[in-house]
């Protein structure tokens, strides 16, 4: 028969409880050593994770393919149609590109394409159910740092929240902790595109209640004041606008332009603008 001493039992649990609460408090307050410990853990596990990823990625791809088989067929035909349209537009855009570059130089505006971009592969998603992040195979040794914007050809993906030697974690737009200062396409109204718990869409907050925002128009990063994102990166499309009489806020839902569920390759932008000292209203607070 196994006899457990009650006092010893309690002391173990109390010790673990106190240690956990101390760690939680230190991390919430933004303790440097804890951030460092996360980086070390990523670096230690990175070589094993790289091998494991190579072994397991076919399994993940297969499961992903099986569970999304129905939608993939529709998506394929839709994408073919879009590709044809985009090929035509791309040819037209070439002419505008050089003109735009010249004008930007004349006006001395920060130009997104001038950003030094680091190409990276998405190696895994979030291991938890309450955060929306991806891990990329580039880290501080490649020049990736916290706060940098992450994009694909379609638009903004999110920002780097943690970087170790060979890996970095990007917080996706849809994470509730993510907020991006944006400007609307037509009315040039500013707001903050905010992630929503468990939703694939975003909410546009802090918009002038009298502003005219139309469904279907795009929103771009504003790059204004001390925003951490360079300006003019496409972020999302306005999906729904509900304006109720007497209410001080419009209910605006945005659909991200990037398919955040099937990210494979991304680019990390080294912003040409100086690092922000203060966040724009409602945007993510800078990491200390």
């Amino acid at each position: 028969m196994v006899v457990y001493r009650r006092g010893n039992r309690r002391s173990v649990l109390i010790l673990l409880f106190v240690t956990s609460i101390t760690l939680i408090t230190l991390d919430v307050r933004g303790s440097g050593p804890i951030t460092g410990a996360r980086g070390v853990a990523h670096d230690v596990v990175a070589p094993i994770a790289t091998v494991a990823d190579k072994v397991f990625s076919p399994v993940g791809d297969w499961v992903g393919g099986v569970t999304r088989a129905g939608t993939l067929k529709d998506e394929n035909s839709r994408l073919r149609k879009e590709l044809d349209e985009l090929r035509g537009k791309a040819a037209q855009n070439r002419a505008f590109e050089s003109e735009n570059e010249e004008l930007s130089k004349l006006l001395d505006l920060p130009y997104t394409e001038d950003s030094d971009a680091i190409a990276a592969r998405v190696v895994s998603g979030s291991p938890g159910n309450f955060e929306w992040t991806v891990q990329i195979d580039r880290g501080t040794s490649d020049g990736v740092a916290e706060g940098m914007a992450v994009v694909t050809g379609a638009g903004l993906v999110g920002r780097i929240v943690e970087a170790s030697g060979d890996r970095a974690t990007a917080l996706l737009l849809r994470d509730p902790k993510s907020g991006v200062a944006v400007v609307t396409e037509s009315a040039r109204t500013t707001g903050v595109a905010q992630g929503r718990t468990g939703e694939s869409t975003l909410r546009l907050d802090f918009v002038d209640p009298t502003a005219n925002v139309d469904e279907g128009e795009l929103v771009f990063t504003s790059g204004r004041d001390n925003s951490r994102f360079p300006p003019s990166i496409p972020v999302a499309r306005v999906e729904k606008v509900a304006k109720k009489r007497g209410e001080l806020q419009q209910d605006i839902v945005l659909a991200p332009l990037v398919d955040l569920d099937s990210l494979e390759f991304v680019k990390v932008l080294r912003s040409p603008t100086a690092a922000p000292t203060e966040p724009a209203t409602g945007e993510d607070a800078p990491t200390p």
């Binding site: 028969m1 196994v2 457990y4 010893n8 039992r9 173990v12 649990l13 673990l16 409880f17 240690t19 956990s20 609460i21 101390t22 760690l23 939680i24 230190l26 991390d27 919430v28 804890i34 410990a37 996360r38 853990a41 990523h42 596990v45 094993i48 994770a49 494991a52 990823d53 397991f56 990625s57 399994v59 993940g60 791809d61 499961v63 992903g64 569970t67 190696v123 895994s124 998603g125 979030s126 291991p127 938890g128 159910n129 309450f130 955060e131 992040t133 891990q135 929240v161 943690e162 974690t169 917080l171 994470d175 509730p176 902790k177 718990t197 468990g198």
Partner: protein, 175 residues
Amino acid sequence: MTWLVRLKLAALVLTTVVLQTTLFPDLRLFGVAPDLVLVATIAVASRVGPETGAVYGFASGLVIDLFLQTPLGLSALSFAVVAYGIGILHTGLSRTPRFIAAMLGGAGGLAGGLIFVVLAALAGEDQVIAFRTIWVLVLAAVYDALLAVPMFPVARWAVGSTGAETPAIRGARST
């Protein structure tokens, strides 16, 4: 507990953390991933009892916390409490019911998820306060219950006969 058992348990922590961070993000069912590290904690706690189980749960939770954006210590505390509870529960069992692994995996997974959510909300992680959280907890618990079936033999291998065996295990061994 011998050094070999400690070494095996450390290897189990590392293996489950690597699987949780590489394989399971791609094996989500309806957008929900299981918690393999928690399942391993439950399996180990059912073999070694409350104290050692709680220490294992704390250690494994701390390691997985390093890979999450939620505050460090949340999973550690949740896993330690669940392991302690599972250890006590299993100690009190006079015989091992059928499907014990799935039952403990499901119940422990649900309890662990609930404790994590409550602690996260208290720590200011507002993203966990949503209707979807109920769905996530229930589905993850079902997933955990399924994973517990192969995980219990692994824990048995890791702990061997040197762990603080519970009366239920002794009973099962003697029959």
